[in-house]
Symmetry: C2
Subunit: 354 residues, 2 copies
Amino acid sequence: MADIKDVARQAGVSISTVSRVINGSKAVSDELKMRVESAINELGYRANSVAQGLKASKTNKIAIIITSVSRTFFTSVIEGANEVAERLGYSLLIAETHDKLDREIELIESFVSQWVDGIILASSAYAHDARTLQYIQRLESLEKKGRRIPVITLEYAMDSRYIDAVVIDYEKAAYDATSYLLKLGRRKIAHISLPKNHRIGRMRIAGFERAHEEFGVPYDPSHIIAGDYTTYSGYQVARNLIEEKHDIDAIFCANDQMAVGAIKACEELEVPVPEQIAIVGNDDIFAASIVSPSLTSISVPKYEMGAAAMRRMHEILQEDAAKHLRQIITLSTAFEERESTLKTAKHSLKYLEW
Amino acid sequence: MADIKDVARQAGVSISTVSRVINGSKAVSDELKMRVESAINELGYRANSVAQGLKASKTNKIAIIITSVSRTFFTSVIEGANEVAERLGYSLLIAETHDKLDREIELIESFVSQWVDGIILASSAYAHDARTLQYIQRLESLEKKGRRIPVITLEYAMDSRYIDAVVIDYEKAAYDATSYLLKLGRRKIAHISLPKNHRIGRMRIAGFERAHEEFGVPYDPSHIIAGDYTTYSGYQVARNLIEEKHDIDAIFCANDQMAVGAIKACEELEVPVPEQIAIVGNDDIFAASIVSPSLTSISVPKYEMGAAAMRRMHEILQEDAAKHLRQIITLSTAFEERESTLKTAKHSLKYLEW
DNA sequence: AAACGACTTGCAAACGTTTTCCTGTTGGCT
DNA sequence: AGCCAACAGGAAAACGTTTGCAAGTCGTTT
């Protein structure tokens, strides 16, 4: 692969001149400029961005840490982030933690040593352990030689004056969904929640409870049952609820996978949905549109979250490091009403995204 | 962020010694080694991999080019590739073409200038244009300074003596699926194929035809109809076939999205599946398990494709560039029988992957 | 006792850029 | 015609590593 010296030799100029032509950083006479440009074309030269990175202390790479690419949530986030990244001239580095906290800090360290320009941390819905937080905060204080690696978290905001975040008001979304069921006249609503301690799970429970309180409808705390994200767990919990003759007329699920499981349980036990039990999911994954009955769900602007994080990252990188002021961007959810709560709800296959 | 000079100063040694301690490349006395190690810990030093990359002409980054992360096929490929990459110490760079050939060559050029160690090209199911092929072949001839960037294509093999590939025998998979339907006694099988020219689409058609020939069953060429990947197109084609009273008893679809559309069309027109029309999809995406009736589908080892490509990439990078001998790795498909062809077929929700 | 080998360490070059500093040339103004 | 400013272009330093080479210190062998 040709380097800048080859180009300089071919064009009969110094490497400084070649660099200037490429970057337009200083005037070069038309004569030389032409010679350089044709040399570049002949050799198919492109500047080595590793060397550029070393010189500029800047790699134009942004890392995004997720738990797994196979979770559709992250897939959309990545898409949003990548779309914006491409437009702004960054490359995206992706890494998965598979929910291991150790792995997370390891990845962050590795990205730091790779000199990525910034890190989008979309992985930890659980609380971080102290080490991660400490490490990340250290990143913010890297003022030496003007280097610093901004971190933006997704879905939740760290307790820090420095780390930006893009979040969703999950409490409100759960509140809205619960209110919606209450307005439909449902009075015995069960909630299949996320595993204990999951902070988003807790926000959903809070919204669920607040809606009941504000509507003056009592609820049975034993009807808030933790699932483990999976379809099968939703299936099991719902099946138990029904078989043990708990008196319920709606199930609000903390994700769509579990909601699909609940639908399957009702189907097997011949409980009509939505007539006897209405079901609401969370996340509006693709499958929500194609199960039968189709699933009413809360739609999280996943793509937009990734895009917003990347836009914000760019802003931060542009501004003076010393002036950085933390910002928390809150995005809202949408509500997709489908057949699992309203028999006549219609939706079109036409615009499905896979 | 501390650099190697800081460590050297702190430990009172030269930077060469620090480097040797880090890499274990040459014996260092215990005394100095200890001093260096504690300096490293105190400063939280990690070698800058940009500088290392420049020195070694090697970045330990592998790029993977796909059409879109939102397609579950690629998601699984990425997972397989990433799993192996992590184990072998590579980072993964991801880029999307969104099916634009121009974008593809642009991305390859950009990755070359970023000095990635290798490129996995999973994007182009359509034929590449001449430019891309030409460019990629140029990559293979980069012997100067021992640099060369191996390319591995996924799903199809280029007409080149140099470019490795990981492929699927789609013709055989389609043959098997069609034979299966014929053995079930179906005699009027329609095929919703991919857009013209799509090479994988053509392989599926070939398998479809070969099965008919070998079974001595004639088929109606007008029942091979191109869809455009989408659920909606599957829906439309199936709906037309039924409404126009074409005499069919099975539909073999070139992907699951279209198969789901076909199922929805049958549902709307009250054609029982599988009693009147059996439906087989391709790819075994997640949704195949949860539609009702669940969808019989050909399962492509997506994860394994990514993993195999990455393993092969590692092999190539280890071997002597001059000795490189192209290899084409062919993986086989599995067949998932479900309710859309056999009413009593059962599958469990338990092990669903999302 | 002299010489040689083994081992440890440091110096400096190199990787491919960008950019500062400097020199030489041109052109405009008086 | 003489000066100065403006400009074009080259040489060289710098970014953070790794590594070949030289030099120094031992210990061992003849």
